[in-house]
Amino acid sequence: MSNLSPSSELAIDAKGLTKKFGQLAAVSDLNLQVPKGHIYGFLGPNGCGKSTSIRMLTGLLTPTEGSIQVLGMSIPKQAEALRLRIGYMTQKFSLYEDLTVKENLEFISQIYCLSPNDSRSKISQLISTYNLLKQQHQFAGTLSGGQKQRLSLACACLNEPELLFLDEPTSAVDPQNRRDFWEQLFDLSETGTSILVTTHYMDEAERCHGLAIMEQGFIRADGSPNDLMQQMGVNVLEVSHSSLRELKNSLLAFKEIKSAAQLGSRLRVLVDNRVTDPNAWLRQARPDLKQAEIRLAPPNLEDVFVTVTGQQPSSPIISAEV
């Protein structure tokens, strides 16, 4: 848990960022301060403005309003100079499928004008770090999802960027690969690289130093995952009951209940923390719950998401248990 002190140096400092496409505001009044060396997460469903935000921060889109400083440079004015100091991993695999792993790395290293010696040593180092030794002469198009993602990260790291932008890097990857990927991100963070990563996985969001929950172009909440869970203002109860569907619908009628969601044979109920004894309150509100098993559960980010966005994490939000 790390609150940012005003003196800490910022990798990204965006104020009042708004992007409108015609009448539609894709991002509204976004304020973002990412300290150097942090892994900062954007959590939100598809279409909430995550990618648009990243594109503005990298100078690919011009904001309608607001100011951006990235690594001390004013964006989009100094975008070309910034490109030498950042790495960018696109949501869709964007390397050349008809080039081999090694040829892709060579190509990107030449585009960044690495000297032939630097390029050789850097490429062989990245190939071993990202476990691509066996695939180095394989066409990128024939790689598995996890291998493609490791190659993309390797390419993004070729120019030893101070700041990495990762747009949904793990969307096409299995749980084991996702876990390994995050280990690699922590390794990069250890060496001082700042990382901005978008995700719709709750477990990934939980690993970030700092986090912003986005919905419909707005940041609904931000802070460290712990702070967000502490400040949520609800207590979490898990209720075992025989007819959960009916119970859920009836509970949602109470204004003290922020949310109720079924988890297998239990109902996860978020009760406003102004209710002093939620367990007793619930048994009193629904007398048939007298015999039911009710226990207090630790809050998680999904609860935070539900309370700040006022909606169930419907299909786009995936809460994956790794």
């Binding site: 690919l60 070309e80 964007s94 499928e97 190509f107 030449q110």
Partner: protein, 367 residues
């Protein structure tokens, strides 16, 4: 330093393009097959010298003179006699059905007319095809010396000396023109897909976050295809020379310079298309939009001078029109590109302005 870096980035793009081209078997095959097959096909097929037009005969005289005339027509090789009919109505019906293109009506009093030195008969011709109609008109003054034994021919008003292609072989004119048509087609096709393909495959999203500059990207994309263009020119001209006996009267250096200018101009035209089109299908459609006028207006099929002025103005915009003049001058007439400063400068200007337009249109921003 920044110049060296530019060269390195251009080289990176070029090397990548060549690697991708080599792995795309079909495209790589097309580099050779398009000029090879199309040259053989068109070199043999296109013939502006009309021969063997199918005709019918209606000989109402049924005389020796009539049979002589029919034989004399066969000898000209312009027409090939396919049918004989009793009446002109039958012959007209055959023309309507498309079985023959013309019919010769010889009247019952043919022998009499021949003796009086009058017009002997009438050709009725399907005039919808102007080339065929023109060929049939040649028969209007067919000499009949052998039948009548009298020399009826007047001396020619003028003498015509045919330079450069005295035997009037179509291939001599077609082969150099084919270089222009085939290069237009392949060069524009290759580069019009170049940027769009990267956009469709998502590569562009990564590329625009790198330090590559638009002009570097454009030049890097063009360079490999210049070599492709030269290979195609060599195939066409080599085959044209050895199979169709097309003379190469100009110097190879002049030929190379002229072709390089045209290849560069065509490639830039493709690049401009590539920055406009959003999908490869759109790029393809725009390429066809350019290719058709190139074939029809550039002077490849029909003489440029015969076209109405507005069509000439449009043709003057196309690089192919200028190259058509250059290549025919160099290959057939032994000319030099310096002899045609306007055409040469047009190609240079087209390339320079084209590259600038393509670079300006290619934005490293997404909005």
């Amino acid at each position: 330093m920044s110049f060296t870096n530019s060269i390195r980035r251009i080289k990176a793009i070029t090397v990548k393009e060549i690697r991708q081209l080599k792995r795309d078997r079909i495209t790589f095959g097309m580099v050779v097959m398009i000029p090879l097959i199309q040259l053989l096909l068109f070199g043999y097929a296109i013939n502006t010298d009309v021969r063997n037009v199918p005709v019918a005969i209606v000989d109402q005289s049924d005389s020796a003179a009539g049979r002589w005339i029919v034989e004399a027509i066969k000898v000209t090789q312009v027409a090939s006699v396919e049918a004989f009919y009793k009446t002109s109505t039958e012959a007209e019906a055959a023309i309507t059905r498309g079985e023959v293109r013309a019919a010769l009506i010889l009247p019952p009093n043919l022998t009499e007319k021949l003796a009086n030195n009058e017009t002997l008969g009438q050709w009725i011709v399907d005039g919808s095809d102007t080339m065929i109609a023109g060929a049939m008109k040649q028969l209007r003054n067919m000499p009949l010396d052998q039948i009548t034994g009298i020399n009826t021919q007047k001396p020619a008003t003028f003498e015509v000396a045919l330079f450069y292609n005295p035997e009037q072989r179509s291939a001599v004119n077609i082969v150099p023109g084919l270089i222009a048509v085939i290069l237009t087609m392949t060069m524009i096709l290759f580069t019009s897909a170049a940027i769009v393909r990267e956009r469709e495959k998502g590569n562009l999203e990564l590329l625009i976050t790198t330090p590559i500059k638009p002009l570097e990207l454009m030049l890097g994309k063009i360079l490999p295809y210049i070599i492709v263009g030269l290979i195609q020119m060599t195939i066409i001209l080599g085959l044209g020379h050895f199979i169709f006996d097309v003379p190469i009267n100009g110097s190879l250096a002049q030929l190379l310079m002229g072709t390089l200018l045209f290849i560069a101009a065509s490639l830039t035209l493709g690049l401009i298309i590539s920055t406009i089109a959003r999908t490869q299908l759109q790029a393809m459609q725009m390429t066809i939009f350019i290719i058709l006028p190139t074939i029809l207006l550039s002077g490849f099929m029909f003489p440029f001078e015969a076209m109405p002025k507005p069509a000439q103005w449009i043709a003057e915009i196309l690089p192919a029109t200028h190259f058509m003049r250059i290549i025919r001058a160099v290959v057939l007439r032994g000319g030099e590109i310096g002899d045609m400063p306007f055409d040469t400068l047009w190609l240079v200007g087209f390339t320079v302005i084209g590259i600038i337009i393509a670079s300006l249109r290619f934005n490293k921003r997404l909005d």
